[in-house]
């Protein structure tokens, strides 16, 4: 079986000479050794397995919440040990700074007073919860789990695209992809020293127990919006893997600023809530009054220190697309270190000069709205038509502050098995960073792949799939 080569973007698998990169040599040889019919057969097996296990997600706006399988590509993405070591150090630095930033803006606001970041950019965001000013969560940890999206540019340099500080999803696929590949392509694993990812549930549980207000008593629960949420599979998966109850808002009740769960034997106190539900829906008494998903009084219980919430309410302001532009400065400010990971150059609509530049160069830029996520509300300037750009420009002029822009990065591409052959498709990487007694990075992550030829959008809601991600063990000294 032949492998097609990438265009001008960085090719993860093959070097410029056409030879596989050293850490892909064994893998490419092993895949080439398998007959075409055998590859097709195993891919079929995987599809059936995914459907039977109900590893599905629902696309928002899809009628009746039709369940779809998140497409899985069996060609694993390999990250050598030294590359990973650098990424890990950069991610730890970033998450440390993000938490210092959150603590600061909810207490002293030094970064605002000293002008590191404009106060309007922080305090005017709806993700900044002024109701929570002065509330510092246990151990000063705001983000117990962060998913940071990384891409590689045409030189192969890793760059942070965004941080997800609210309730990043995808880790269940990291574990399920590994288990699936294990069953269907066992022979690939014997080629390389792949670091396991299966201990994620214990990592997460450790971080949750670490912040339990009643020491040693920590009863944790996973709070889900319910079965119709697109990430419901993951909520249930994590609860099952940690052996803790999966609850909905209606299962919890607040009395006397303590949170209880309704059981068949009456009510039992809850210490830690790993919530997979947005801030605005957490507590109808505090945030959105029409929320049916939340728990009335929950924020009061949190403020009183009787329950820990992971991630902390109000943490979302740290992953704002405009805040992102200031993160290198924030890292220098809080840690007195240079950022270890590159970012993507960002123009912020809030700055008049930047906005003028953005409006002028739409055909070169990727423009995003600060509020949206999941690839919605985005303009890919170089790929858009003249009319699309003109229409988008009109919208931007109405609300300059709502936009940021970045140059179009040629995402790296990776060999992907599609329609019976290996073709290059663009990928990104979302590692998961867990903050408990210290900051740890799961050695692996979700590699998302844009399955459409030439596409830059890897989101599952827009035709993306995923790959297993292999971080290699350090070679023995």
């Amino acid at each position: 079986m032949r492998f097609a080569r990438a265009g001008r973007e960085y090719d993860e698998v093959f070097a410029g000479t056409g030879e596989p990169r050293p850490h892909y040599r064994e893998l490419v040889a092993a895949l080439q050794a398998l007959p075409a019919a055998e590859l097709a057969r195993r891919e079929q097996l995987q599809q059936i397995s995914l459907l039977n296990q109900g590893i599905t997600f629902a696309i928002s706006g899809d009628q009746g919440g039709i369940e779809r399988v998140f497409p899985f590509d069996f060609v694993p993405r390999v990250i050598p040990a030294d590359e990973w070591r650098r990424l890990e150090a950069g991610l730890v630095q970033r998450v440390t700074a993000l938490n210092l930033f959150l603590r600061d803006i909810y207490t002293e606001q030094r970064c605002l007073h000293e002008g590191v970041i404009p106060w309007e950019l922080v305090l005017s965001r709806k993700e900044y919860k002024r109701e929570l000013r002065g509330v510092v969560p246990p151990s000063e940890i705001f983000t117990h789990v962060v998913g940071t999206d990384l891409i590689r540019d045409d030189a192969g340099e890793y760059r942070v695209l965004e941080d997800n500080c609210r309730s990043p999803s995808g880790v269940s696929y990291v574990l399920e992809n590994r288990a699936l590949l294990n069953r269907t392509f066992p022979e690939l694993f014997s080629q390389l020293p792949v670091r396991p990812v299966g201990d994620y549930p214990s990592l997460l549980q450790g971080a949750l127990r670490f912040v339990a207000p009643r020491w040693g008593e920590g009863r944790s629960v996973v709070l889900t919006p319910g079965i119709f949420n697109s990430a419901y599979f993951e909520h249930s998966f994590l609860a099952r893997e940690m052996g803790v109850p999966l609850v909905e808002g209606r299962d919890l009740v607040v009395e006397d600023d303590h949170v209880f769960v309704r059981t068949t034997e009456g009510r039992r106190q809850v210490d830690v809530i790993y919530r997979r539900i947005d801030d605005d829906f957490l507590d109808p008494l505090c945030f959105r009054r029409d929320s049916q998903l939340g728990v009335p009084g929950l924020i009061d219980a949190y403020r009183s220190g009787n329950v820990a919430i992971a991630n902390a309410p109000g943490a979302g302001v740290a992953d704002d697309k405009a805040t992102y532009a200031y993160l290198p400065d924030l890292i220098r400010f809080y840690l007195a270190e240079e950022p270890r990971l590159e970012q993507v150059r960002t123009w912020v609509g809030f700055r008049p000069d930047d906005f003028a530049y953005m409006i002028d160069r739409l055909e070169e830029l990727v423009v995003k709205t600060t509020g949206d996520s999941g690839g919605y509300g985005m303009l890919l300037g170089p790929l858009a038509t003249r009319e699309e750009r003109a229409a988008y420009r009109e919208k931007m002029l109405e609300n300059p502050q709502g936009y940021v822009a970045q140059p179009l990065i040629e995402l790296s591409s990776h060999a992907t098995y599609l329609g019976g052959e290996f073709v290059p498709r663009r990928i990104d990487l979302r590692p998961f960073i867990v903050y408990g007694d210290r900051v740890r990075v799961l050695p692996g992550g979700l590699t998302r792949v844009a399955l459409r030829e030439g596409s830059y959008v890897v989101n599952s809601s827009q035709g993306g799939g995923s790959k297993d991600t292999w971080v290699l063990e350090e070679p023995e000294a």
Partner: protein, 318 residues
Amino acid sequence: MMLARVADALYWIGRYLERAENVARLVLVTSEISVEIEGLDDDVSQAEWDSLAVAVPGAQNIPRDFSPATGLALPYLEALLLDEANPVSVRCSLARARENARGVREALTREVFLTLNEAWRDLERLAREPLASPGEGFQALTRVHGDILAVLGAMEHTLSRDAGWTFLKLGEALERTRRTALVLRAKLPQLGGVARTDLPLVYARWRSLLRSVASLENFRREHGARLDPQQVVRFLLFDRHAPRSIFCGMARMKNYLAQLPQRRNGDGAARIVGRLLARIEFDDAQILEKPDLTPFLDEVVARLADADAAIAREFFFT
């Protein structure tokens, strides 16, 4: 610790799976006897199909017209196996069991969810095409029945015997006991006048009655191949070992309820079940002495409905 919502869902998974299995088996058994009898006595064949409406209350879209030309079984198969609009069809029961399981997946094992999901997917696939012939329908039915048994097997083998198990099995026991009462309620009046089981046609109907509640082999081991109506009725009501006798079902419910925390005085589920069980255990002669068992069977069904409401009050709305 068991969430009230999870207990509720597990209880109903138990009920829905039992119901799906019961209805699948009833349709299988009825189609077999109707094939056997068709041509001999079409009225009896029709009566056997008609009895399903009583044995499966709430069934809708059940065909009323008997037209030998179209084949008797097919419309019933469609209605009771595949019809999505029929709340007691096997398809509906399986879909609800799976929906519930999706909502409490963390309380189940991988094996249970996998087999249940497969059973549901199999049936959904079948439902996409109309059934071409009764033969195809029977095949499908046999397969679905096997799928359901696989789910029950996965539960038996992998689930922890905790409170969740108790609720699951409590639901199963209640649904099963109710079904035996309903099947007797549906079929005994039809068979009342004809006690001559030496007539082949009558024998076939008593045999079918036993098979409808999966008890033919068990009965034969106990009493031999001759089917004495009195013995059959006594067996299905009072036998101490047959898993589908009303006595056994009530005794199971009593045991499961005893394992749950008792939090309410007054007319709780345990008391409702205990009272009825005591009657069945000690007043058997009195019950059997009546020529018509219908009032007694109706009472069993009514008390089970009371028990169901009491269980919800005590454990699910806390």
